[in-house]
Amino acid sequence: MDNKDIAQAIREAASRLLAEGAVDCVIGYEAGTLPMRERPFFAYTPEEAQRLTWTGFCCNNLANFLVRRPQGEAGKVAVVAQGCVSRSIVGLIKEHQITREQVHVIGVASPGMLDRDKVQALVGPEKVITAVSEEGEDLLVEGPGWQERLPRKKVMRDNCYTCVQRNPVIHDDMIGEESEPTHGGQIDKVAAPWEKLDTAGRLAAFAENYQDCIRCYACRDACPLCYCHVCFVDESQPQWCGKTQDGSDVLTYHLLRAFHCAGRCTDCGACESACPQGIKVRRLTSKIEKDVRELYGYAPGLDEKSVPPLSAHKPDDPQGFIK
């Protein structure tokens, strides 16, 4: 099935669920106002469901909206979920933020989502892109008076390239067939680019990576894990974290947020896709993800049963990092 068929099947599933009254709302993606800007869309009627779409630029993690819905809208919702999103949903269920019964998962195998910044960089930062379409393994990029064909593989998001499970791990409807679970990238080769550096080198690499951070918190707000009613950076009594652009405040924000994601981050890449400054936010979380996997043999969201390592204590838990 190509994207058009998948989009059509999503629309059909959504219309049916809404018409039957099985769900109050279907959260999916619709075309945005700019190329490569597919955006979250909430469909409440079968007619609205006709606006749903599916392309390689569906980069938001829609599980995020399951825990941020206004109060009083606690009814059942359906959500379009590729592999990582389904894993985030499993995580939210395990963390008792939602129940399995509240959510109807419309599963879609992810073809690997695409990075609009990479597309822009490849055609040239000065060029205005007016249309982008996918043709099999190619991306056709168009602007005023020019056209360029890019291989999909070259513009895939970093996290999609190394994804460990592209198929939905839970679903109530499955759109299309399952695909190969991985894209072939080796997560451990790229997960921790700073690992080999000494402490001073890591600090320098950190400062370089985050130098353009404006602390807009889009990375936090796009992440389905960051559902705390009061984030530690917003706490004012006591105030844990300074509000300035000084390096130490920026560092505190990113380090603490990354640690809060330990054993929970599904490497969905929503944080990086949201960042307006193109910052490689996953350079911290992917290292922690790797540590959790190596130390506890645990990868978040893959199944509904296993207990997250940071929620449980075992006498034989590794303790080597306590110094």
């Binding site: 930062p125 707000d221 796009a222 307006p276 193109g278």
Partner: protein, 342 residues
């Protein structure tokens, strides 16, 4: 005549002359992005670019700005006495600012410096010490909608000098006294140059493809707009991050905090944003904009209803399109204004 001509091959020396008394800044390409950067004397600025990713707001209203310093002690003569930070040491020139950004700071003047009681010395100091040499746009982006927002690709408001790119030459229009003085030594433009600049202006205005009407908004009761149905949908996908406000040249919310370390203390002002719940949280625990919908509505009502009402019809948006480009969930201000105006 205040219209002059500057040959591009002499621009570097003209700017070096401006730079004798001033620090120079201009847009430049850095790591695939267009950013504001210092312009070295003798260096030629970038003539072709759409606009900088972030707005130049930082020059007048830094994201983090120390306002005062104090000694963190209850006793002693100096204890808790506030000392203002020094003013800007040197004048500066901001070269090739886009007309929308120049206009934005004119709008912000009306907010930071309203009257005797509301007159922000930090803003005023930086504004008075800056010469804005704007560069008219000949190739607007698909996200630009300045012509709908009291502005335009060749608009002059807020600039001291407006440059119009004519190819080999630039037409330099003196807009303010300060600007006319800066270009006084340049040769006069002739009729053909003026005609070419006028042609470029018309072409650029015609290239702006999005028109956003605001004609109904002003005539509506504020409460009618406030209670309109469409707000129930606009906010649904909003993440309440600070992206749109931080990229916006006219957003200007801030938070002031005292920071102390041992005996050192400073009072520092940081950008804040109406999209954050914390921004309006009262000490009592009450939050007048407690729900996401309230916060999203505030951003748009402020720009398109409250500012026009309070500031003689000026709009709190200049149509630069940055929020459209950067919003992680593509909430497009043009669609929201259409809904408000419908």
């Amino acid at each position: 005549m205040s219209d002059k001509i500057l040959n591009k091959d002499q621009a570097a020396s003209f700017l070096a002359e401006l730079g004798r008394e001033r620090d120079l800044f201009a847009p430049a390409v850095s790591q695939g992005k267009v950013v504001w950067a210092p312009l070295e004397p003798g260096q030629e600025p970038l003539w072709r670019f759409s606009n900088t990713a972030l707005s130049p707001k930082e020059f007048f209203f830094p994201q983090t700005e120390c306002l005062m310093r104090f000694k963190n002690r209850q006793d002693g003569e100096e204890g808790m006495i506030m000392h203002p930070e020094p003013e800007l040491a040197r004048e500066r020139a901001l070269v090739n600012m886009r007309p929308c950004d120049a206009k934005a700071f004119g709008v912000l003047d009306l907010i930071f410096c309203q009257d005797q009681m509301t007159d922000d010395p930090y803003w005023r100091d930086k504004r008075e010490k800056s010469l804005i040499v704007a560069l008219a746009c000949n190739d607007p982006c698909p996200t630009c909608f300045c012509t709908s927002m009291n502005c335009g690709p060749h608009a002059e408001a807020g600039a001291d000098v407006l440059l119009v790119d004519l190819g080999e030459r630039l037409l330099a229009k003196g807009v303010s006294d300060k600007g006319r003085e800066a270009i006084a030594a340049l040769p006069e433009a002739d009729e053909a140059d003026l005609a070419a600049a006028e042609g470029a202006k018309q072409k650029a205005e015609a290239a702006i493809t999005t028109q956003v009407a605001m004609d109904n908004i002003g005539g509506r009761e504020v409460m009618e707009l406030y209670e309109a149905k469409h707000w129930d949908r606009v906010h649904e996908s909003c993440l309440n991050c600070g992206t749109c406000t931080f990229f916006c040249p006219t957003c200007h919310c801030f938070d002031i905090q005292d920071e102390t370390q041992g005996e050192q203390g400073r009072r520092v002002r940081n950008w804040d944003y109406c999209m954050s719940w914390l921004f309006t949280q009262h000490g009592s625990g009450h939050n007048p904009r407690g729900a996401k919908k309230d916060r999203v509505r505030q951003r748009f009502m402020h720009k398109f209803s409250y500012i026009p009402l309070k500031r003689g019809g000026e709009i709190g948006c200049v149509g630069c399109g940055r929020c459209v480009q950067q919003c992680p969930v593509n909430i497009d201000v043009r669609e929201v204004v259409r809904d408000m105006n419908a």
